[in-house]
Amino acid sequence: MAAYRPAFDRDSRPWWERVGRREFAVQECDGCGAARFPARAFCPACRTEAWHWREVEPEGVVESWIVNHQPFMPGLAEPYVVVMVRLAAVPGCFVYGNWRGDRPPEPGERVRVAYRRIDEELTLVDWEPAEDDGNLDTHPARRTSSR
C-alpha cells in the first residue's frame, strides 16, 4: 500500500493516468517547445497556455537522497530511502521517489523509473540504477543505510 494516496488535481490527473499505463510524459509548450513538469496550465518561459503531452525517457540523475529512520507518515516502515532526481527531459526539474537499488544511491548516477503498482487506481514512480535490467516490479523499495 501507499503511505499516502495522492489527491489528483485537474492539472495532474492525466499525468497520473499515464503513469498507471507505465507511460512517462511531460508537458511540452506549443509556443516555445519548453518541457515542464509537474503539470500546470502556463509555460513559465513564454506564458503560452497551449501545450501537449510528450512521452520522454523516464531517466535522470541522482541529485540527493535521504535515509529515513523514523516513519514520517503512518503506515511506513523505517528505514526507507527517498531519492531526489534531476529529470533528464526537463531542465531544472527535480522529482522524488523511493529508491529501489540494492545499494545506496551515488550523487550524479544515472537512474531510471521503476513503476510501483499499488492498485487499479494508483501507480507510483520509484527509481533504480539505470544499468539495472530485469523485471522492475519484483523487488520492494530497498532499505539501505549509509551509516
Binding site: A2, C43, I66, Y96, P107
Partner: protein, 390 residues
C-alpha cells in the same frame, strides 16, 4: 536601491520585546500564549496595551489570529492587522510589513507576535499535523517525503556532495549554539554538548541526526514596532529597522535549467536587503540566522555573503560564528537550543544584542544585526531584517 521606496530606512524601530517561557507543554492555548507575549512586549516598551493599534502574526493554521487576539485584549478598533499565512520563510516579512505600515502612517504601534504549541499540539516534525495542502505534495507524500527535516536533509546531502560539507561542520554549529544557550536563561537546552555527542545522536533522516534538528517548542514571542521618533521617548533604547526585504527565490516549477538545490532564495534577496540598508555583509556585527536545522545556517552564511559559496561548513568549523569570532551567530542558542518560535525569537535576540542587554551572551560593540527567516527551501520565498543601534 529602488527610487520608488518611500523613505523607509531607520524610520521605524523595535521598542520592546516580550516572551512567554519556552516549554515542552505550555498547558494553555495559543491564544493565551499570544496575549501573554503581546502584553510582555508592550510592558517592556513602557507602553499601555491601549496604545496598540496594529497586530500581526504568521502561522500555518496553528496560532491565534489578530482578529482573536485583538478582541481578547480589548482592542476593538485596530487600525491595521496582518494574518500572514506561511511558515518560517515569512517570519521576518511580518515585521517588515508592520514597519512599512508604521512608516506609511497606517498604524503607530504594531505588535508582531508568534504563538505556537509546537511540541504539545502541532509538531512540525511530521506527526500531529495534517499533510500540507499544495499541488506539489502529491509528488512527494506517497513516498513518505513530507516533513521539514527530510526536506532539509535532502538539500544538505546535495551540499555535502557538491562541496564536501561534512557532518563535523554541522556538528560544530550545533556545539557552538548549545554553548551560547548555556548562557541564556530562557533556553530550553542549556547543557553543553561535544562534537562526539553530536555524532552519537540518533539518525532522523540521514544525513541528519537528532542534534541537527531544532527543538519543537511551546511558547510565544512578540516585538513592538513603532516610529523611530516615538521609540526614542520610550523606556528602552530603540533599535532601528534599517532594512526589511522579502520575496525572492525560485522553485522546481520555474523551469530554470540552472536550478541548484544548494542555493536558497536568500541569495536573490540579500543584495536588495543590503542595498536598502546601505550596508554589506562586512558591516554585520551579529547574525541571528534561521536555524530550523544546522544546514540552514551554513547555506545562509554563504547566500548572505559571509563566506564563499560552498565554504559555509569550513567557515563554521573555523570558529567564525562563535561569540569571539568575526560573526557571532545565534547568540541565544537559536531554534537548536533556545527554542523554536518560528523566527520571532531571532528578531527579539537581535534587539537584545543591539540594546546591550543580552547579559552573559552580549556581543561587545554590537551595532548592526542581521536576522533572517527560513531561507526559502520549502516555499520559494524568504525574508530578513537589518537592525541597528541609533
Amino acid at each position: 536601491m529602488s527610487k520608488r521606496l518611500l523613505d523607509f530606512r531607520d524610520r521605524t524601530a523595535i521598542a520592546g520585546v516580550g516572551y512567554t517561557p519556552f516549554t515542552k507543554d505550555s498547558g494553555v492555548s495559543t491564544l493565551t500564549l499570544a496575549c501573554r507575549a503581546v502584553l510582555a512586549a508592550v510592558e517592556d516598551a513602557g507602553l499601555s496595551v491601549d496604545d496598540v493599534d496594529g497586530l500581526a502574526t504568521h502561522r500555518v493554521g496553528d496560532s491565534a489570529a489578530p482578529t482573536l487576539v485583538g478582541p481578547a485584549l480589548g482592542l476593538t478598533d485596530l487600525a491595521w492587522h496582518l494574518d500572514q499565512f506561511g511558515g518560517g520563510s515569512v517570519s521576518h516579512a511580518v515585521v517588515g510589513q508592520a514597519a512599512l505600515a508604521v512608516a506609511a502612517g497606517m498604524a503607530e504601534t504594531v505588535v508582531c507576535y508568534r504563538a505556537i504549541n509546537a511540541r504539545s499540539e502541532f509538531r512540525m516534525g511530521g506527526t500531529g499535523r495534517g499533510v500540507p495542502v499544495s499541488p506539489e505534495v502529491q509528488y512527494q507524500a506517497p513516498y513518505g517525503y513530507v516533513a521539514p527535516p527530510q526536506q532539509y536533509a535532502m538539500y544538505a546531502r546535495a551540499h555535502m556532495s557538491k562541496y564536501g560539507t561534512k557532518a563535523e561542520h554541522f556538528g560544530q554549529l550545533a556545539v557552538t549554539q548549545r554553548a551560547n544557550a548555556a548562557k541564556n536563561p530562557r533556553a530550553l537546552m542549556r547543557t553543553p554538548i561535544t562534537l562526539d555527542d553530536y555524532l552519537a545522536s540518533r539518525w532522523i533522516a540521514e544525513p541528519f541526526r537528532l542534534l541537527d534538528c531544532c527543538l519543537e517548542t511551546d511558547g510565544a514571542c512578540a516585538v513592538v514596532v513603532t516610529t523611530a521618533e516615538r521609540a526614542r521617548s520610550l523606556r528602552r533604547p530603540p533599535v532601528l529597522v534599517s532594512a526589511a526585504a522579502w520575496g525572492g527565490g525560485t522553485s522546481h516549477l520555474s523551469g530554470d535549467p540552472s536550478a541548484d538545490p544548494t542555493v536558497t532564495a536568500a541569495a536573490a534577496l540579500a543584495p536588495r536587503l543590503y542595498a536598502q540598508a546601505g550596508l554589506g555583509p562586512g558591516d554585520i556585527d551579529v547574525a541571528e540566522l534561521y536555524d530550523c536545522f544546522t544546514y540552514s545556517v551554513i547555506v545562509q552564511l554563504e547566500d548572505y555573503g559571509f563566506c564563499g559559496k560552498g565554504e559555509g561548513g569550513p567557515y563554521v568549523a573555523s570558529g567564525a560564528t562563535a561569540p569571539d569570532g568575526p560573526l557571532p551567530v545565534n547568540t541565544h542558542g537559536g531554534f537548536l537550543s533556545e527554542g523554536y518560535v518560528h523566527g520571532m525569537n531571532h528578531i527579539a535576540e537581535a534587539v537584545s544584542q543591539l540594546r546591550g542587554d543580552a547579559g552573559d551572551r552580549q556581543v561587545v560593540g554590537a551595532e548592526v544585526a542581521l536576522s533572517t527567516a527560513q531561507p526559502g527551501y520549502i516555499l520559494p520565498a524568504t525574508s530578513a531584517l537589518i537592525l541597528r543601534r541609533p
